[in-house]
Subunit: 309 residues, 2 copies
C-alpha cells in the first residue's frame, strides 16, 4: 500500500519565493525545507534554474538541491526554462525537472520569447541531453502546460490546443505532463473536462499532477475536482505564497495547509502531520515578516475530534 | 425552464451582520438589499426575529421585510429562534422562515437553553401557528440543522443523529430541512455522504439547501461537493462576512462573489450579474468601513473571455 493517496508537491520555495521581491536567505530556506520534510511533505520544488539576473530570489537553487538530498525518499523538484537551465540543473541530480510550455503562444513569446515550435525543440534537446546521462542521474522530466485554463492576454484557451501540446511534449521526450492554471482562471467543470481530454490522448499514467492558483478563490474546489477525476499529485504552497502578483489581494498558489486539511478530513492520506506543518509555517512567517500568509486552517485549528485519514 | 440552475441565498444581512458589532443603519441595509436584488440575487435572508436586546444589529428586520416586499419574485427569508419570534416574523409575511436546531444538544443548551425535545415542541407549535394563518400568508418553514458537520464543544457529530433530527423536524411540521456547517468543520466527502443519508430518510425534495462556513477554507470545495450531489440552494454572504467570530482570521460564510463565479464559469446559471454584484459590494464596503471583506474574484476581476452560463 502506498504511503499516501494524494501526493502534495510543495512549490512555495520556487513559485512562492519567485513572486516575492524579498530574498530569503539560503539558511532560512534550508530551515524551511527541513521543517517541510519533517512535516511529511513528499515532494518539494526547491527552486528554478534561471539566471540570477532574472530571479535573484532563486539564485541558490543548486545549494538547496544538494541540501535536500540528505532526505532519502524526498522528491526534489526544480524548474528549468531552457536547455542551459536544464544542464545546470542536472549537475545537481534533482529527482524531477519541469519545463513550462505556455499554451498561449502570445504568453510564451512575451515570457520566454519563444514560439511553441521553438519550445518543443528545446524540450527535445533537453530530453536528448538527459538520455546522455547515466540512468541513475536522470530525473523525471515533466512538461508543464502553463496557461492551460486561460491566459490574461489571449483570454480563453482552446482545449484542443492543450491536448495537442500535451501530445507534442510527450513526443518531444517528456516523461509526463502537468497542467497549470497559471492565471487562476479555471473552474471545476473545466478541470475535470481537460484532464479527461488529455488522458484520452496521452494516457492516464502520463498526467498525474495539477498546479492550481487561487486567483479567484477557486483553488480548493478545483483541486477537489481534479482529485475526484483521479489526479494524484497536487501542487500547493505554504501560506498560499506566490502565484500571480498581477492580481492585487489574490493569494497565489493554493494553500498547502487548507489542502491537506481537506484531503485528510476526506479520508485521503497525505502522510503530513499538522503540528509539524504549522511549525514550518512559523519558520516561513519569521523568514518573510512582511509577506501576508493565506490559509484558514492554521488560524482556526483542526476541528475538535479531527482524525487523520 | 427555471431561471437558474442554482439558487443563491444571500445571508449577509442576517448571518453576516449579526456577527459584527457595528450596527448598519436601516437606510444602508435597504440600499444594500436593493443592490443585491438589482444584481439578480433570488433570495435574501434579511434578518432575524430575536429580541433587540440580544442582537441590536438586527432590530430593524421587520422594516427590511416590508421594504423587500416591493420586489416581486424575491424570496425574503428570515430566521426565528422560537414561537414568539415566529409570531413576530409572521406579522410581516416573509417568504421563508427558518428555525435552527443544533444537532449538538450541548450547543443547543448553551445557545438557546433548550433540549432537542423542547426545540422540537417549539417547532411543532410554530407549525401549528402557521396553519392558523390564511394560506397566502404562510411562509415556507425550514428547519435548519445547525452544527450538522461538527461542534466546537462536542466535537464530531453523529450522522445518524443528523438524520433522525431531520426526520423529527419534518414530523414536527417543517416544510423542508437545511444543513448547516455552523463551525466550518465539514469536508467534501462528509457533505456528500450526509446529504445522501438525509435524502434517504426525508426525500430529496425536502432537503435542497446547504449553509456552509469557510472557517478552514473549505467553503467552495464543500459547495461544489453539495452541488455535485444535487443540492440546488446554497447560502453565502457577500464578502464572506459573518460566520464564526470565534476563529480569528477565518472568514465566515462562503463568499457570494467567488461562489457565483464558480457556478457561472461551470455553466450553472445563477441569474446574477457581476457588474451589479460588485456594485452591491461597494455599498457594503462603504457601510462597514472597518470590516474586512473576503473574496478574490472582486479583486482579480473576471478572466478575459469569461462567459456567463
Amino acid at each position: 500500500m502506498a504511503k499516501f493517496d494524494i501526493e502534495i508537491s510543495e512549490v512555495g520555495p520556487r513559485d512562492g519565493l519567485q513572486s516575492i521581491s524579498a530574498i530569503m536567505s539560503t539558511a532560512d530556506k534550508m530551515a524551511w525545507i527541513d521543517a517541510l520534510v519533517a512535516a511529511g511533505i513528499p515532494e518539494i520544488e526547491v527552486g528554478s534554474f534561471v539566471p540570477a539576473t532574472v530571479l535573484p530570489q532563486l539564485a541558490d537553487t543548486h545549494q538547496l538541491v544538494e541540501h535536500a538530498k540528505q532526505y532519502k525518499g524526498l522528491s526534489i523538484a526544480v524548474l528549468v526554462p531552457n536547455l542551459r537551465g536544464a544542464q545546470n540543473a542536472l549537475k545537481t541530480s534533482p529527482t524531477k525537472m519541469s519545463i513550462p510550455l505556455s499554451v498561449s503562444e502570445t504568453h510564451s513569446l512575451r515570457n520566454v520569447k519563444r514560439t511553441h515550435k521553438q519550445m518543443l525543440e528545446e524540450v527535445a534537446n533537453i530530453a536528448q541531453f538527459i538520455k546522455s546521462l547515466p540512468v541513475e542521474n536522470r530525473p523525471k522530466f515533466e512538461g508543464g502546460l502553463a496557461t492551460a485554463f486561460g491566459c490574461t492576454i489571449e483570454g480563453s484557451v482552446s482545449e484542443d490546443k492543450v491536448v495537442s501540446l500535451a501530445v507534442a511534449l510527450m513526443e518531444a521526450g517528456c516523461d509526463e505532463i502537468g497542467l497549470s492554471d497559471t492565471t487562476g482562471s479555471g473552474n471545476p467543470a473545466q478541470v475535470q473536462r481537460l484532464i479527461k481530454k488529455v488522458w484520452a490522448e496521452v494516457g492516464k499514467k502520463n498526467l498525474s499532477g495539477i498546479h492550481l492558483h487561487n486567483t479567484r478563490g477557486q483553488g480548493l474546489a478545483n483541486a477537489l475536482a481534479a482529485i475526484e477525476t483521479g489526479i494524484t499529485t497536487v501542487d500547493s504552497s505554504m501560506g498560499g505564497i506566490g502565484g500571480c502578483p498581477a492580481a492585487p489581494g489574490a493569494s497565489g498558489n493554493i494553500v498547502t495547509e487548507d489542502l491537506v486539511f481537506m484531503l485528510e478530513a476526506m479520508g485521503l492520506r497525505t502522510g503530513i502531520n499538522f503540528d509539524k506543518l504549522f511549525e514550518a509555517r512559523e519558520i516561513l512567517a519569521k523568514a518573510l515578516p512582511n509577506e501576508p500568509l493565506y490559509g484558514f486552517t492554521p488560524n482556526a485549528g483542526l476541528p475538535k475530534g479531527f482524525k487523520y485519514a
